[in-house]
Symmetry: C2
Subunit: 286 residues, 2 copies
């Protein structure tokens, strides 16, 4: 179900993700205002017509008028913003976010908000290797997952509104996970894979390798182009779970190494068979 067309939406932070949200919503006729830090982002968004209005100032009337506020900020800036301006949000407002980790953020934000303001967290699992509103593109939501992460503080109405937002944005699948399960999943599927890609790029620095690179290596390291400010922050906020996933993966890689060093062909083949079978499960969903 889509958001009611008269829903007034305020997006705080017009970067790649905020800008992509704005595009998707404006295109469908929603009123979308945005508060963001960079004057150039405001200029770009207004010139491109991807928002109804935008400003670098904290417009109190925009905050008051909004039914739904989307925070598309780095986690620590999100927390700072709520500390500084959270009191401006009137009761009855629903707020949501796009943050890539949940356990460390959701409870903190929920406990900081004025009475009657409800934070329902969500993670749009979409992105690009480029940044800024200039690169925003609502096409990134097609085929992607949108995950709502409710806590016991959330109402069914807010959860439903947040799911509607995901559907309105055009995500292929909208689902729910606890913040805990979300962070476990993201530690393995996304954060560990970024650590691997980075370690691959730094582990062999022979320049001639570039000339012989095939598709496998390019696929594994596509995500090695990484925004170090954003990802180091997300890694730290999910430290315990990510360290556990690195350790589990390192254990398996070391198992393959041991079988190889011992020339234990049967065990090597067994790992490869399990891998092949398990990978086939993932193919079905493409």
């Amino acid at each position: 179900m889509k958001l009611p067309i008269d829903t007034k939406i305020l997006i705080v932070g017009l970067g790649l993700m905020g800008g992509s949200y704005a595009r998707a919503l404006t295109k469908q006729g929603y009123e979308v205002r945005s508060i963001t830090r960079e004057p150039s982002s405001v200029d770009f968004a207004l010139a491109e017509g991807i928002v109804t209005d935008a400003s670098t100032e904290i417009r109190e009337n925009w905050i008051r008028d909004a039914d739904l506020i989307v925070f598309a900020l780095y986690p620590h800036i999100f927390v700072e913003w709520i500390e500084e301006h959270g009191h401006l949000i009137p009761p009855g407002t629903i707020i949501t976010d796009v943050t890539g980790v949940k356990c460390t953020v959701v409870g903190q934000i929920q406990s900081m908000l004025p009475d009657g303001v409800e934070f329902i967290a969500a993670h749009p699992m979409a992105g690009r290797e480029v940044y800024g509103v200039e690169n925003s593109d609502d096409g990134i939501f097609r085929g992607a997952n949108y995950i709502v992460t409710p806590t016991e503080r959330n109402t069914p109405e807010a959860v439903a509104l947040c799911r509607s937002l995901g559907e309105t944005l055009g995500f292929a699948r909208v689902s729910e996970l606890s913040p805990e399960k979300h962070d476990e999943m993201i530690a393995f599927l996304s954060q560990l894979t970024h650590c691997i890609a980075v370690a691959l790029m730094t582990s062999n620095t022979e320049p001639h390798l570039v000339d012989y690179t095939g598709d496998s290596f390019r696929d594994l390291t596509r995500i090695a182009r990484i925004n170090e400010d954003m990802w180091s922050e997300l890694f730290l906020l999910n430290k315990k779970k990510l360290v556990a996933e690195i350790d589990a993966f390192s254990g398996e890689l070391n198992r393959m190494r041991t079988y190889l060093a011992d020339e234990n062909v049967d065990k090597m083949k067994e790992m490869m068979r399990i891998s092949t079978e398990r990978r086939a499960l993932f193919n079905k969903k493409v």
Copy 2:
């Protein structure tokens, strides 16, 4: 420079790679015969017209008539074939291969051949995640690397012929590496990446993960569907170099883990910056 059009080519082993060679060469009017083990491969190749003729028998006259014999077999079957039938190859014949490791194979084969038969090794860096002549496709050579790995036993004429084969097949780049450099490169770019993909698939077996998989994880594990017979053999034949690459990579991953556990943000960011810079080099060649 392409192979002279009157070059008589014999392909031993009509699998994915042998079949793809046959398609590319037959299409351009070369005479291509093939000896292979499976009657069904012969039937398929003849029905599809991808060879001039094919047989499951060791046709001595085909071996005698060939100017160039391409061995597209698993390494140990290649060695067995030469042991058993190598004496049938007359002096003046050039033989080549498609084997994915070189140091352990090239010297062994060269020392087994009759006088006057020259083995010039090559590695077509192309493939698919499927097998058999039924899936052969000469489109896999487009954009790919073909690497000739000469030793001091090779003549400039044989190297030139082998390079011509790569150009005739339609590879984007034909280059030369020593067997030693080739195996180092392949240990890192190809074998290590396959080990990583397998370890990723076996390190977390929660079934619900499938539902939230994004592109990063799919990219990193595309090659986790792996032919365990072929890859375990290639890994063992390059054991020392592959173990070294696994250790180097594990060291880098552990470095990231340590920075994360210590909350050493500056060092985490530094690794990410180096990774981003280095990955950009690889992009240019796409």
